[in-house]
Amino acid sequence: MSQWILRGLKTGIKTTPYPARAEESAGVSPGFPVTTNRPETEARALAARCPTAALRQVGDRVEVDYRRCVHCYRCLRGAEAPMNWEQGFERSTIKPGGAVLGAPFERSIHIRVVDAGDCGACLNEVRQLNNPYYNMHRLGFFITPTPRQADVLLVVGPVTDHMRLPLQKTYDAMPAPKCVMAVGACALSGGVFGPSFVAGSGVAGVIPVDVEVPGNPPPPLAILHGLLMAAGRK
């Protein structure tokens, strides 16, 4: 056992300074296109390149709907006038009509994660939250095995037909107050998969959503940001 203790001590502290300070390392976030001013024809061409209608041409501006962006990079690579790109990751929002937890949950929330048809990347990013780099325990976030003790329901995936009932049951099994966090493009808009006869167009079609975290997949820091928002700390 001692070799493991020594190894752990030698590794040192890897934890990200976020949210106290900004995280500067490379590769922590894929970034997003940002709303850009372009002449109308260019704007229309750019909007036409987007396969999920995340880009919308409004006059001489290309507006970005983050909930639909699937990181296909078509507006960046191979485009004549590429979109402006930004590496930030704090793009979570509170859905209009949604409510976050606030006091007395600010300092500690328990999260139940449900995979409702996810591709695997969003779930893997959620798993990284427990690794020494992100260490969500230091922020008071814990994953629980049962919805009975959960405050936040974190859902990934467009909600496939087979997972509608289990998701509904999980939501019903959580005691109030509860907060639903939809993570990833699929959970917000169905991504590239929905809507179809088996895949829905997002979690909002099944249970009421409070916090939305866009990305495909959103990096762990973005999910942390979303959790902080759900706790009422941001």
Binding site: P147, P166, P175, A176
Partner: protein
């Protein structure tokens, strides 16, 4: 009223009941039986209560049989105790009969049932009141036949006939052995009444003592359900009607204990410690095997039958310890041990009757006794579930119920073996104590399984899902027994002096002196307590309640001897009061703190499966499987089938595993014995080949043999 008058009233009631049962219509018979049965029980309780609590004893000679002797009826304190227990069980069971026997209306004769039931009551009372060997054996045979008829009441089922027959056959074997024992004693005394037997018992030689002990212990042990002759019990209980099972376990098993007690404690006190050790060891082994098979059994009534074996084992172990203490000249310890045994016997009758009545209700309402097919009954039969829970808590020896008090006393009595001198004796005590402790743990497992699988969770069969609660006439007796369980557990300091009155004549010492110190100032013996002792316990609060509670005190105390100055104290009374208070306060606090909160009810969390089916929940077999695995060497299940079916070499379509349990005593005792008897019978049957010439030759040979014998003498 005088005891004699009350007994006469009792006989009249039974006789009138029998006559009326024949006259009244079949349909009204259960009601009649309830009235007569309960009245007779009350009368008997009054009579026996007088015999136990006052100094009055009853002794009467009925007619004299020419050439043999007088038929004596005598009720001393030991008989009185057993009579009270009998009446305590008969009272609620009689009331229960009203509702329960409806299922047999039109199918079997209810008149016959009433007649047999009252007859059985009468014969049991006669056994306990018998004062001489002849009356005892006559009443015993009557009891054996009537109980056989009652167990075999549903005589049209083949399986029932076999079970009843086995009970009768083994019972008769035991009766034969005990009769020989009693007759040996009578031969030494030259008379048949128990008083003479007792007087001349001192003059018996060693060999005779051993014969009497072995024959009476194992003979009466058959009736009590002790190892190795208990194979009739688990077969007889499931086939008997529910109320008969309650009588069987709550009353008839006690007769075996009575026989052992009467012969080995009252008439023939042991001279060496070895008989007592044998009794102790047999008791411990019975207890362990009984509960082991109960834990792995799925039929509710068979499980309760095995549990009866266990409890009788505990009682026997207490008796054995007492016998050893008497032989080692420690009468005070013997008194404690006998008291523990008789207390446990009383408790067992009460809670076992309760459990059997509960099982009878479950059987009649849910249509099945198989724990793997019950479930969810707590919603359908809430009161039955509650009473069954009280019974289960009692039998698992959990405070504040009665099982706890008597098992605690039994184990404490065994602990006193440190004061004995012989190491071998102490070793047997230690091993038996360990076995009893293991038994207690397994008993808790067994009854958690019984209650949880039977009443909690989801219904595993349609019948169980459609069950509905039973009527008040069947709930009331269970309620009475449940209240008795609580009272016997919460008021040990009143029960102990009562039972002690039966123990004192036998052990020549008082257990009350040792166990219930007079902490109350109002009690007359209070001044005899040493001052520092009383002061120490005064600080602990042992005098609480002295203003309104009568008696010596509310604390049961067990002190070691001079070589072993430890003190064990327990008070289920205080414990119960504290527990009730704590529960009430907590409930009130929770209610007040959450008065403004909203309570939402939701279905169980099942992992999101679309349908949670009963076959996805734990079964009774699954629950008890770890016990099965640990004790595999004892159980040694026979694998009947263990196959795998595959289609096209790789589709696994079925895995079949069927294992069959054979009771270890059946494997080593009953089956070989039966095989031997059948072999002997077959060999002897070779004589019956039908050839006239050979038969004539037999006659000739026999004549010649007699002539030779006559010539020799």
């Amino acid at each position: 009223m005088e005891i004699g008058t009350l007994l006469a009233v009792f006989c009249l009631l039974c006789g009138a009941g029998v006559v009326l049962a024949l006259l009244v219509s079949d349909r009204r018979n259960p009601e009649l039986l309830a009235w007569v049965g309960s009245a007779a029980s009350l009368v008997l309780m009054l009579a026996a209560g007088q015999a136990l609590f006052t100094d009055a004893a009853f002794h009467a000679e009925l007619w004299t049989v020419p050439g043999v002797g007088a038929l004596v009826v005598s009720i001393d304190r030991l008989s009185a105790l057993f009579l009270i227990v009998t009446a305590l069980v008969y009272f609620p069971v009689s009331i229960f009969t009203v509702g329960y026997m409806r299922r047999y209306a039109g199918h079997y004769s209810l008149r016959a049932f009433s007649v047999m039931y009252l007859g059985l009551f009468f014969s049991i009372a006669l056994i306990l009141a018998a004062g001489d060997v002849l009356l005892f054996l006559l009443a015993w045979e009557g009891m054996a036949i009537l109980s056989y008829l009652l167990v075999n009441y549903e005589h049209e089922e083949e399986r029932h006939a076999r079970a009843g027959y086995r009970m009768l056959a083994m019972g008769e074997g035991g009766t034969l052995a005990s009769a020989v024992a009693l007759l040996l004693l009578a031969a030494a005394a030259g008379a048949l009444d128990f008083a003479s037997l007792k007087q001349s018992a001192g003059g018996l030689g060693d060999a005779q003592r051993w014969m009497v002990f072995l024959l009476s212990f194992f003979g009466f042990g058959v009736k009590a359900g002790l190892v190795p002759f208990n194979s009739w019990l688990p077969r007889a209980h499931p086939v008997a009607p529910g109320n008969v099972s309650a009588i069987l376990s709550g009353v008839i098993l006690n007769l075996g204990i009575y026989g052992i007690a009467r012969v080995n404690m009252d008439i023939l006190a042991p001279s060496s410690a070895v008989p007592g050790l044998i009794v102790l060891a047999v008791g411990a082994v019975s207890a362990f095997l009984g509960i082991l098979y109960a834990t792995t059994e799925n039929d509710l009534k068979a499980m309760l039958a095995h549990s009866s074996i266990e409890n009788m084992g505990i009682v026997t172990a207490g008796l054995g310890a007492g016998l050893v203490f008497i032989a080692s000249a420690h009468p005070a310890l013997a008194a404690i041990a006998f008291l523990a045994a008789l207390y446990h016997m009383t408790n067992h009758s009460v809670y076992k009757a309760l459990l059997f009545l509960g099982a009878a209700v479950v059987d009649s309402r849910a249509g099945t006794r198989d724990l793997d097919r019950l479930g969810g009954l707590i919603h359908r039969l809430p009161w039955t579930a509650f009473f069954f829970l009280v019974g289960a808590l009692s039998i698992s020896a959990l405070p504040p119920f009665n099982g706890f008090a008597s098992e605690w006393l039994t184990l404490q009595a065994l602990l006193r073996s440190v004061e004995l001198s012989s190491t071998a004796v102490k070793l047997v005590f230690v091993l038996s104590g360990a076995a009893l402790a293991l038994t207690a743990a397994l008993a808790a497992t067994c009854f958690v399984k019984a209650f949880a699988m039977g009443f909690l969770g989801m219904s595993r069969s349609r019948q169980a899902a459609a069950a509905s609660e039973t009527g008040r006439s069947m709930l009331a007796p269970m309620g009475i027994l449940a209240v008795l369980c609580l009272l016997l557990g919460v008021l040990p300091t009143y029960v102990i002096p009562a039972i002690d009155r039966a123990v004192v004549p036998i052990a020549q010492a008082s257990a009350t002196e040792a166990l219930v110190p007079p902490f109350f100032a109002a009690s007359p013996e209070h001044s005899r307590l040493p001052a520092e002792f009383a002061a120490e316990f005064h600080d602990l609060g042992a005098q609480v309640g002295e203003d309104f509670a009568p008696g010596r005190g509310l604390v049961v105390l067990h002190r070691g001897g001079e070589s072993n100055p430890v003190v064990f104290a327990m008070s289920t009374t205080y414990g119960f009061v504290m527990l009730a208070a704590l529960l009430a306060v907590t409930a009130g606090l929770v209610r007040w703190l959450t008065r403004k909160r909203r309570v939402t009810r939701n279905t169980r969390w099942d992992g999101g499966v679309r349908r949670l089916l009963p076959e996805m929940t734990y079964t009774a077999t699954g629950f008890s499987n770890p016990v099965r695995v640990v004790f595999n060497a004892v159980l040694r299940p026979r694998t009947v089938e263990d196959t795998r079916e595959t289609v096209a070499e790789h589709f696994r379509t079925a895995i079949r595993r069927i294992r069959h349990d054979v009771h270890v005593m059946d494997r080593y005792v009953s089956a070989p014995a039966t095989a031997a008897v059948i072999w002997i019978a077959r060999t002897a049957a070779r004589m019956h080949h039908g050839r006239i010439n050979a038969y004539v030759a037999y006659v000739l040979l026999t004549l010649a043999a007699f002539l030779l014998v006559a010539a020799a003498f």
